[in-house]
Subunit: 532 residues, 2 copies
Amino acid sequence: MVSEYKPDFPEDADFEKLIDKYGEELGVLQREAHELDIPIIIVFEGWYDVFIGEVINRQLLPLDSRGFDFHFTDAPTSEENKIPFIFRFSQKIPPKGKIAVFDRSWYMRGLIEHLLNDSDIFGCSNLSKKSNIEAIFTEPANKEIINSPKFERMIKTFNDFEKTLSDNGTYIIKIYLGARKETREESHKIWKKIMPYNIDKRSTEKIYKKDIHVIKEVIEKTNTEYAPWNLYFVDKNIDEVTAGTMQIITQQIKKAIFDVKSKRALEENSVCALPKQNLIKTEGPLDLVDLSKSYTKKEYKEKLKKYQKKLAFLHYSLYLNKKPMVLVFEGWDAAGKGSSIKRIVQAMNPRYYRVIPTGSPTDVDQKYHYLWRFLDGIPPCGKTSIYDRSWYGRVMVERIENFCAEDEWKRAYDEINHFEKVMTNDGVIVIKFWMHISKEKQYERFVARSLNPLKQWKLTDEDWRNREKWDDYYAAVNEMIEKTSMKDAPWVIVEANDKYYARIKVLKTIVERIEEELGSKMEEMDFPVIGD
Amino acid sequence: MVSEYKPDFPEDADFEKLIDKYGEELGVLQREAHELDIPIIIVFEGWYDVFIGEVINRQLLPLDSRGFDFHFTDAPTSEENKIPFIFRFSQKIPPKGKIAVFDRSWYMRGLIEHLLNDSDIFGCSNLSKKSNIEAIFTEPANKEIINSPKFERMIKTFNDFEKTLSDNGTYIIKIYLGARKETREESHKIWKKIMPYNIDKRSTEKIYKKDIHVIKEVIEKTNTEYAPWNLYFVDKNIDEVTAGTMQIITQQIKKAIFDVKSKRALEENSVCALPKQNLIKTEGPLDLVDLSKSYTKKEYKEKLKKYQKKLAFLHYSLYLNKKPMVLVFEGWDAAGKGSSIKRIVQAMNPRYYRVIPTGSPTDVDQKYHYLWRFLDGIPPCGKTSIYDRSWYGRVMVERIENFCAEDEWKRAYDEINHFEKVMTNDGVIVIKFWMHISKEKQYERFVARSLNPLKQWKLTDEDWRNREKWDDYYAAVNEMIEKTSMKDAPWVIVEANDKYYARIKVLKTIVERIEEELGSKMEEMDFPVIGD
């Protein structure tokens, strides 16, 4: 049971003065949290409408505007509606040292959009026009909602989302502003008076009674250790409510600062060098690959034509069917990622695909959770994103080069699986290719590159440095493939010593997957393809 | 007259081979342009539908995906529709060293949205649902379009936009793919066959004849020295068309590279030290300010209450009337920008305002035109953005500290005036405040800050360094105010030696401006305001 927060006010408190006092404290705490690089999320939810906006504004006033972002959560924009639900909020997480304040959040929107959409809450659906707060109060009956698998999935999505943030150092403060009966009636009267056009005629009381059970259930099930709820009743005047919420927030930020400081002190005092990365080469998926597979030039040309033709039609069908697709390309340097991608996009209309190259993170990227910078590329309904390297860098280069700590890359397997699950749950097709070549073949290609004036630029010192760590990468990739292969988001190891074989395998895999996804084999059709 | 581009092909050219050759060349040129940090824009416009998509895809294939972005220009999203028209495209300009390819652009959308919207093309309007390509072919009659002031304004907006980009080193390549009659009929037939559901029943010929005059007029009027059109007829097979456009693009990028190289060589050879910034203190607006203006505490409290109450109501009215507002705060260090902003936002609902602090540009920002990073803050309809420092840094700190070259900051006055004009033309309320104090008052406040433990953090070494350049700043500000004061976007100099007076003047200015904008004095009303 989430218990009610009882503020600890001095007797006969002067709330105006208390607000000033907390405000001053908040300013100081914000700077301290900023210096410690702590990201903080403050979520406000509550009964409609208990003057949440006004209460929040008072918390914001003492803050330094360079240090916080405010997000008012309304119905999604048309673009937001085309990506998996939770990513709309992932995009708004605070960077290191900043505070993000949410006036309503994934909770409110989850409930509304959950109830509205019969088939698939988080799908690429055309949300009906009534995607507003009123729709929550229609059907289906509440007990049906609470017991539905969709409801469970929503709760899991929220908890996974908050856990990932918390694991990576974000402090989450969640405040639910409850209203007792008299307050609700009072608030209804005031709103009716000052904004008659904004308040509908129905009895908010009737709505409340029908609805509060669902909200209670959500609160209980998302009241976790890493992101607990603060339930606070607002049967007071607005000054007292403000002082109460400010007390909650200042206390929690103090706690965050204390936790971080003690954790860092411990780390400093422990005798700890970076653990030497001695990866042991164990048997794994890579050891089973038959790199001798190949096609003749004639076979290649025929198959290329056949599969590109199919892909052209199927890719356009994906667009018509509003199916998004994510293709991830990882592999050894010089394994042929680029040339395989080229054979794919030759068969696609550039209006419906994007190739997203992954370089080193910018200084802005580095202020966020490592998955954040990939959100921008997540395809909206009907579009395809092709990642040329991806978030898997976390468990390869970042692991091997010690760019992140051991617990960070170990946690990353789960985080990545959640991340991809959010997509596949939402109907995004996800295929991950590991382009595999032998160490000898890589050497051969490096040498060929260094001798070809048109391709010299492709070969850098870093490529040679990476090559020296071949065995470490080999072991890391084996582990990665084992830990992140999922039924809906499989790893496909591509035998790439022979370029012809590799390109066809990639094309064929994509074609077959789309056919599977679209339900039936599409009939062949004369569709224009750009020749090789 | 824009003349037709005649490609220079060898006799009996094998176009497939030519495409390969140009492709290789394009890859090399892209890398060279990247190394020279040249941003390039390639715009494709043309008759609907001459397989523009396919032609473009072939140009993109040889490019390195790290080095270009592709933008398919469709109807605006609901969010794009809430900001001034051209900013939708400004947001997509390429950073240094990158290529941005537009499949249709501001030209197509300008025409469509221009014709659709009777009252104000670039306004915060609810574009009707038929905001698609078909709507262009309805009313009004074409000669009315061409002669309308709205049409002229559109052309000016496009030319200003392209000139600013060009002045700052962006190369713009514009290609119009024309179609002769037989080609149009042929293309219509093909599309009808492969995508019958996508082609409407009307005769495209009838549409063409009605419409081509407007397009011709646009092409002629935007065929500038800094961004000329390449008119190319596609009465050929798709291979030949592709080879032709690739020839245009390779030639132009070569030219860009040559121009940049010769310019840089000249600069290196010229005997040139940075000009010493000896700003001469001349009479200007700042010299007329009466800094003795003040209010007593009692006067202040009364006026504060009165104006905040008004502002609360008026700000909500702006939201209801979908009016966006931009407030810019510039001023001396310790002049009270922050505390004035605080008094404003106390009277506003955080759902409808944002405070945007301006720090040093990030490494991403630095790859773009200096105005680019402010686009994200431009308020959508009904919202207010408050800039705490702004784009005026270009003609103050960047000028004085030599962060930009003399021709850059000199050009900035015009660029800023264009930038603000785009907003005010679109109905955005723009007010710019210069918070003015005396040098003695600044010293007094610096000392007070350094002695107050809660405010010490506000005072940095940089503040003292800036103070040493007081006279340079004084002259630069005088010049800035003279060169960028516009009727619709005025500078308001705030006498800020007395904080009470300053805060009230700011509030009063905003209140009066909104009243003026909303047409009639709004009656006073009991609206909830958060107390001081």
